[in-house]
């Protein structure tokens, strides 16, 4: 049963990924102009040279042939070739994907660790005035544009000088092992807090509404009348019941997290997928765009799979289906 569930979800994910690859590949292929437009502007480069370059990178072939070649190179783990870097896209993406994962992973953990206690606390807040004001506060925070938040974080880093204002490593740090780890953690601190803050209001809102629903159910009243202490009641009795929609939310939150992360990486010059994608889009470096988009889909689908598996483990009703 368990294995069948997994196989079904994985095959669905594989089909979805194949469809996304075709879709994104087709998108960048229909784009007018290509990477060599810039080269063509140069009067000292002849038309034959440009055509030669295009042929070398296979840009002159028909769409199905290029897609087939791309699939083959994807199976080799290369995902085509970057025209700007003249290197396989796979090699380019892997370290950057790792950095993005490091950032988004840390922020996800941080955001949930903060969102659950805050959400639970505000759900127990039954007085009308304080409840309404806390609702207003979260919806105000929800509307702060990510861009503004990230710029403020950058401003804070630049003005205070307490934190590095960008990048992932210090220039002078050549050390290995522990000292390098400390250096990366130091650079990670501000971006991950910023990203967690950006996603926090939405999470708090959902935790609160899920908790309020559970707290109104009769078994909580029964438990309360048995004299179970409040803390135990909230976290041991109510939270596991409210967990179901929150686990699905976890899958969705990966998507918003990745989108916010793209912007944050550009603003705080974190060497992740974001800056690469912006640069590749501006350069028409088609295979890099396709690779990055694919990778973001992989992350998102993996997040949803993880959420499904957690749900499977947490909720017996899913297993019966």
């Amino acid at each position: 049963m368990n294995v069948r569930f997994l196989i079904r979800r994985f095959s669905q994910a594989a089909v979805l990924l194949a469809a996304i690859s075709l879709f994104s590949f087709a998108l960048v292929q229909v784009a007018p102009g290509d990477f060599f437009d810039q080269v063509r502007m140069n009067p000292r480069v002849s038309a034959q040279t440009v055509e030669g370059l295009r042929a070398e990178y296979g840009l002159d072939r028909s769409f199905p042939v290029r897609y087939g070649l791309w699939i083959l190179s994807a199976l080799r783990g290369e995902f085509g070739i970057s025209l700007a870097y003249n290197a396989p896209v796979g090699n380019l993406l892997i370290p950057r994907a790792r950095n993005t994962l490091l950032l988004t992973g840390t922020s996800t953990v941080l955001a949930w660790l903060l969102a659950i206690p805050i959400g639970v606390w505000s759900a127990t807040n039954r007085r009308k005035f304080s409840r309404r004001s806390s609702e207003l506060a979260t919806s105000t925070l929800l509307t702060i544009p990510d861009l503004l938040l990230f710029l403020c974080v950058l401003l804070f880093a630049v003005r205070s000088g307490w934190f590095p204002s960008g990048g992932m490593h210090s220039a002078e740090n050549e050390g290995h092992g522990l000292s390098q780890l400390k250096d990366v953690a130091w650079h990670l601190l501000l971006p991950s807090v910023a990203l967690a803050l950006a996603t926090l209001p939405a999470l708090v809102r959902h935790v609160r509404s899920a908790m309020i629903e559970v707290l109104e159910s009769p078994f909580i009243l029964a438990a309360r009348s048995h004299g179970i202490p409040n803390f135990r009641l909230l976290f041991r009795f109510a939270l596991p019941v409210a967990a179901n929609p929150l686990i699905s939310l976890f899958g969705f939150s990966v998507a918003t997290m990745l989108s916010s992360s793209l912007l944050l990486e550009v603003i705080l010059s974190w060497p992740g997928l974001g800056p690469l994608l912006v640069e590749a889009t501006l350069n028409k470096d088609v295979y890099v765009v396709v690779g990055t988009v694919m990778l973001s889909a992989v992350f998102l689908i993996a997040g949803n799979l993880l959420a499904d598996m957690l749900l499977f483990a947490a909720d017996p009703r899913i297993r019966v289906e």
Partner: protein
């Protein structure tokens, strides 16, 4: 009743904001491209009622600027020259809603005084005027894109829900494709398919169509859900029994039931698309100078010295918070208003 009041209040606020943007030429004291090269990065002008002698003036006034000879590029308030703020003044000509030319401005000061409510940028252009003109690009993009994607969403969702079977399956699966990508990555993928260097109006249309095309999946899902239950209502079944055609049923009986969802979705999507435009333009993929948009107003903050010295460059982004909040509150109230009556 309470909810209705909230809805009306939100509608009024939004209407006021949109009118200010629509008639930017009238509400803005200067044009969006008017430069004052001697006044770069001027902080927001302070409007006074009390003069330096402690006298009270009913008409507000501002002080002029003088450049400090000892330090180049630094400006100081000149307390000897003051300019009263006048209302309904004649100024630079502008087009009212793109139709006819007018010289009327809501407020202004006498020459050579300058009033900059939100300060100026590197070229000495008035940020307040540029914010209002920029709204014409950003808000219109948001409105059109939200309308477009909800239109697609309603169309696709209605067809999927109404016909069911393999049509439903196919449409919803392709919708999953759009939901399986983080929206900003998707936006970039679609943007990569568009030409980079084209005219301003083309860029604008591109932005709108890109954003409109990628956002249909979520409204489609919601509309499909409504349609699925709506088509089983007795009056719809009765109409079908009388021989009503599919098109008539959809138009007359099914789609009106989805109008609440559609309206709520539009209200929710507008701020998201405005932000999408801001983000794309900030990253250099949207509209470009001298045409202002909210994204290009903020893009100068990418330079460290602007970011760390000139705080008023943040103000355009700060003004977006109450605007978006009103939109979200309106969406909440709309959702409450259209909540299905349980039978």
């Amino acid at each position: 009743m309470r909810n209705r009041r909230k809805l009306v209040a939100c509608a009024f606020l939004l209407a006021g904001f949109h009118i200010a943007v629509l008639f930017a030429g009238f509400f803005a004291p200067y044009g969006y491209a008017a430069q004052d090269r001697e006044l770069p990065f001027t902080p927001p002008t302070r409007v006074h009622f009390m003069d330096s002698q402690g006298h009270f003036h009913i008409r507000p006034f501002i002080y002029g600027w003088q450049s400090d000879a000892s330090v180049s590029g630094s400006l100081q308030v000149d307390f000897t020259r003051y300019y009263p703020v006048r209302f309904f003044v004649q100024g630079t000509p502008h087009k009212v809603a793109g139709l006819f030319v007018s010289r009327e401005h809501l407020f202004g000061v006498d020459e050579p005084g300058r009033i900059f409510i939100l300060g100026t940028d590197a070229f000495g252009r008035d940020q307040f005027s540029r914010f209002l003109y920029g709204g014409q690009v950003s808000l219109l993009a948001g409105l059109l894109a939200a309308g477009l994607s909800v239109m697609f969403g309603v169309l696709i969702g209605a067809i999927a829900g109404f016909y069911g079977g393999w049509i439903d399956e196919g449409l919803m699966r392709s919708g999953e494709l759009f939901l399986a990508l983080p929206w900003l990555y998707l936006l970039f993928a679609v943007r990569a398919a568009m030409p980079l260097h084209v005219s301003q109006s083309q860029i604008f249309l591109l932005l709108v169509s890109v954003m409109g095309l990628i956002g249909w999946a979520r409204p489609a899902r919601l509309v499909r859900g409504v349609v699925l239950s709506a088509k089983e209502r007795y009056f719809v079944l009765a109409a079908r029994g009388f021989g009503a055609s599919d098109a008539y049923l959809l138009r007359r009986h099914v789609l009106p039931q989805a109008s609440g969802v559609a309206l709520t979705q539009i209200t929710l999507l507008i701020p998201q698309y405005v932000l999408a435009e801001v983000t794309l333009t900030f990253l250099g993929l949207g509209v470009s100078e001298p045409m202002p948009s909210w994204g290009s107003l903020l893009s100068s903050l990418q330079q460290y010295y602007v970011l760390s010295t000139y705080w008023w460059m943040f103000l355009p982004a700060v003004i977006l918070i109450p605007l978006f909040l009103t939109y979200y509150l309106a969406a909440d109230a709309l959702q409450e208003h259209w909540k299905p009556v349980s039978l």
